[in-house]
């Protein structure tokens, strides 16, 4: 048995926290540098969730809900959670001082920036822009060019799964969407991408049909400027698209 196979043998025990001592330490080290073993570990954890299903029992007592929500209300995880009335005068002094320092630092920074901008020549800025554009073209070409070869690596023996990647830059109102392994659709049907805003209804973000290889690309579909995206989703609609989703969500993903 090879060293790698030996590690693979121990993965199930590792997932269960049933591996101890030196074996555990060695496997933890191996996992740090072995993506295929990490994937297999995730599979075993998925199996653990399946095993959790074998148990059912009474619902938790009603007081547990109340207890949890009271604990959450008392936690001051974020500034937004804090009640102003509970802050001391000294607390406000601290914040006020910090704010004053920030404002002062900001004004110095702006002044400095203005001086620098005056000194910088237009030619230098233009040269920089050209370099940035060239750099962007180099990076974007393999993603956007239709003839580019696209390869997605997955665990061996795993059938390719439909996958979509959305790159959204709110400040530039720019969206690039790449899809792979999309199943072919019947005639007169197409996939529609939806931007799901933080509040309000899903916004249409382009209609696409995958090519013979199941790939598709959307570049800068019209989207209302400044829309904050909570998630993106895909449904199947008519070829011309639909203003609202009319079928179940097929794929969905939220940003980090």
């Amino acid at each position: 048995m090879s060293e790698h196979e030996q590690y693979a043998e121990n993965l199930a025990l590792y997932a269960l926290d049933a591996l101890t001592g030196e074996d555990r330490e060695k496997l933890a080290e191996h996992l740090a540098g072995c993506p295929s073993c990490r994937l297999e570990l995730e599979e075993f954890r998925g199996d653990m969730a399946v095993l959790a299903l074998s148990t059912t029992g009474p619902r938790p007592p009603q007081r547990a809900r109340q207890r949890l929500l009271e604990a959450v209300a008392q936690e001051q995880r974020r500034p937004a959670d804090r009640s102003p009335s509970r802050q001391s005068w000294w607390g406000w002094m601290g914040w006020a001082t910090a704010a004053a320092v920030i404002v002062f630092a900001f004004s110095l920074w702006r002044e400095n920036l203005q001086i620098k901008e005056t000194l910088a020549s237009t030619a230098a800025r233009a040269a920089q822009s050209i370099r940035e554009l060239e750099e962007f073209r180099k990076v974007a070409a393999p993603i956007l060019e239709p003839e580019a070869q696209r390869v997605t690596l997955v665990a061996a023996k795993t059938p390719p799964q439909p996958q979509g990647k959305a790159f959204y830059l709110k400040k530039r109102n720019s969206l690039v969407f790449l899809a792979n392994n999309m199943p072919a659709l019947p005639p007169q049907r197409a996939y529609e991408l939806w931007l799901i805003p933080v509040s309000g209804n899903p916004i249409p973000a382009g209609v696409f049909k995958p090519d013979a290889h199941g790939s598709a690309t959307l570049v800068n579909p019209p989207i209302p400027a400044g829309t904050e995206a909570k998630a993106f989703a895909i449904t199947v609609e008519g070829e011309a698209g639909s203003p609202v989703p009319t079928s179940p969500v097929l794929m969905v993903g939220a940003g980090e």
Binding site: E9, N10, L11, A12, L13, A15, L16, D17, A18, L19, T20, L39, E42, E43, F44, R45, G46, D47, M48, A49, V50, L51, A52, L53, S54, T55, T56, G57, P58, R59, P60, P61, A64, R65, R67, L68, L69, A71, V72, A73, E75, R77, R78, A80, D81, P162, V198, K230, A231, A233, P248, V249, L250, M251, V252, G253, A254, E256
Partner: protein, 194 residues
Amino acid sequence: MRTSKKKEERDRLSSPQRQGIPADLAIVSGLKTGDQRAMADLYDRYSSVVYAVALRVLGDTGAAEDVLQEVFLQLWRNPGAFDSARGNLGSWLAVITRNRAIDSLRKRRPETDIEDVVLSTAPDLAGEAERSRAAAKVRGILGSMAAAQRSALEMAYWEGMSHSEIAAKTGEPLGTIKTRIRAGLMALRKSFRT
């Protein structure tokens, strides 16, 4: 026909079309912004799964309630620990709960950080009906396993015993225990994904 039924069930349990996923995304998104209503939604959706797993491990309602509290508060404090791109929220909570309950049972410090617990797609545990159907199926698979295999798997999973402890208790070689546990988990996987 049988294959088609199997496929239907697999799609219902494992595909991205699960109706539960958008609701999970909304909950996690709410937790990330500190919205306490999202916490109430999370509790209403998954407390029965979390409590059932904790109670099965610990066998004590008070201790199970403490683990439930701890698991939900951990996610409240660190909602980024759950990666919505990998696995689903109910399955992730079930695994986190099992691990925390075992740590509590064995009176040891947590072995694994919750951020490090990533799992591949697993059954959606959001709906009572889906859960009952899948529970019956898992029990059926466990029932069809050889007694020694089921026992080794359950000792490791529900009692948190290490493979050497199981080997000592059963008198079986370490390698045999290791193989039984691994094969048991893979049998569950196969029945839900093929």
